[in-house]
Amino acid sequence: MSLLKISNVWKSYGDVQILEQLNLEVEQGEFVSMVGASGCGKTTLLKMILGSEQVSKGKILLEDNPIPPEPNEARGIVFQKYSVFPHLTVLQNVMIADEFSASSFLGRTFGKQKRLIIEKATDFIQAVGLAHALNKYPHQLSGGMQQRLAIAQALMKSPKILLLDEPFGALDPGIRKDMHQLIRKIWKENKLTIFMVTHDIQEGFELGSRLWVFDKPRQDPQAPTAYGAQITYDLPLTNKVQQEAGHAIAEKYTRKVVNI
């Protein structure tokens, strides 16, 4: 049984076909990087897995059950921005995840229960390297630190799937490298299944254990929106040889599609 099964999924907005005939299976513990030209539907697929968008046709199964049609705890998300709550400090931002489930009326905890949540939250904050900023508000943090915070938040719920929507797109190259290390460490330590949308094909290769390349195999010049994108390459990246073979394809692909 695979963790996530995408069977014959199509997605369109009115007449505009975005994605077509996607058939994919993802096992527990995989790290899938999704690359492709902008507007090709990779974020749409991510949102369908998240539950904030619905499929037009076909099915997405999470552990053999239809995936819930709205966001919930099973799937964590880190967006490019606006991923953290501006009115809470770093510690509160991470604590709130467990406070939601601990207190369904007030959403706040007290006494011993609160101390336990603080401990757990502090551990995750330490893991992402924000221990020095516990009591700061997000607007006092740099972009990279905000993304670290968003990751710590998502980890609190130990989601079956962690979705990353261009999480490092707004960061400086140096900070990006640090974040790559962090996310790889977190992926291995927590045995997560990660889907990451990225514009940076290099990033896709470095991080993922599997790479999906989105492209339109069919084109109608008279009606450019008539056909949607498919996953044209599904590359495993688990060893060096595959990595290098992938790079060759990627370079060809980069010249062809991404830099237009």
Partner: protein
């Protein structure tokens, strides 16, 4: 020499420039008043500062012969009571209805067109209806303030809820929040500073409707007094009353701003950083 648009006044110059217009107006008034009084000592249009302070003494610090009350303070407390209840209820309505319709598409569909239409009714036009249905007592005046300010606050809160990034609301759901928890722990704290600024903006409107209602039917109140003494052309009473109303309005605005800065420091830092 820098360009004019790049010249910033120093701290002391800033203070001086701020006070200057007030001093100029006072001096202008003083000369004009002196001139008129020199010509006709019984002129009522521009009373001298002594006449004004006599009037204040009479209204605020001497018992009224007929009722045995200090009229100025009675007027003040009556007006403040009405405006605080009015604005308070408007803010509560604005918060609850604005959040409901901003957050829940089901409520929004049913409620939004109604509130848009209601907010376009000129409140003064329904004042007679209020007097007929609620009598001439406190309720009608408070209702006028509510009708005048609540729709604006509701729409303001609603639009601010809708402007919250959808990422924030989705994120909260992935952390396990129900609709209720999203409302009270994510939306409410983020909307509170905006509610306060909406209240500050509608204070001017609230005073307008309060004074209008008091002018038409009341036994006490700042607006009532101004319109009452107008019959005797008592500028020496009207002027200090107007200054007092302005001071009260300023004090309410100022304390709301300070309250907001005290309770929601993150909001004000964020705004300052933009």
């Amino acid at each position: 020499m820098k360009k004019l648009m790049n010249l910033e006044p120093s701290r002391s110059l800033k203070g001086f420039l701020a006070i200057m217009p007030f001093i100029l107006i006072l001096m202008l008034y003083w000369t004009a008043s002196n001139d008129r009084l020199a010509e006709n000592p019984y002129d009522k249009l521009l009373p001298s500062f002594t006449q004004i302070s006599d009037a204040v003494e009479r209204m605020a610090f001497t018992e009224d012969k007929r009722s045995g009350k200090y009229l100025f303070w009675d007027d003040t407390s009556a007006s403040l009571y009405r405006i605080c209840i009015g604005i308070g209820i408007s803010a509560a309505l604005g918060l609850i209805l604005g959040m409901l319709s901003g957050l829940l598409p089901l409520v929004r569909s049913g409620f939004s067109p109604l509130i848009t239409i209601v907010s376009l009714i000129p409140p003064m036009a329904v004042l007679p209806i209020l007097f007929i249905s609620f009598g001439l007592g406190e309720l009608a005046k408070v209702m006028l303030i509510i009708i005048g300010t609540a729709p604006v606050i509701i729409r303001d809160v609603q639009s601010h809820v809708r402007q919250l990034p959808s990422e924030i609301l989705i994120k909260a759901q992935t952390l396990g929040a129900s609709t209720w928890l999203v409302a009270i722990r994510v939306v409410l704290p983020q909307i509170m500073p905006r509610l306060i600024s909406a209240m500050r903006l509608s204070l001017g409107t609230a005073w307008l409707f309060l004074i209008a209602a008091e002018a038409i039917a009341a036994q006490e109140g700042l607006g009532y007094r101004i319109f009452l003494v107008r019959r005797y052309m008592s500028m020496d009473v009207i002027l200090p009353y107007v200054i007092w109303i302005t001071t009260l309005a300023f004090a309410m605005d100022f304390s709301l701003r300070k309250l907001s800065e005290l309770c929601f420091p993150w909001y004000h830092h964020q705004e300052a950083g933009k």
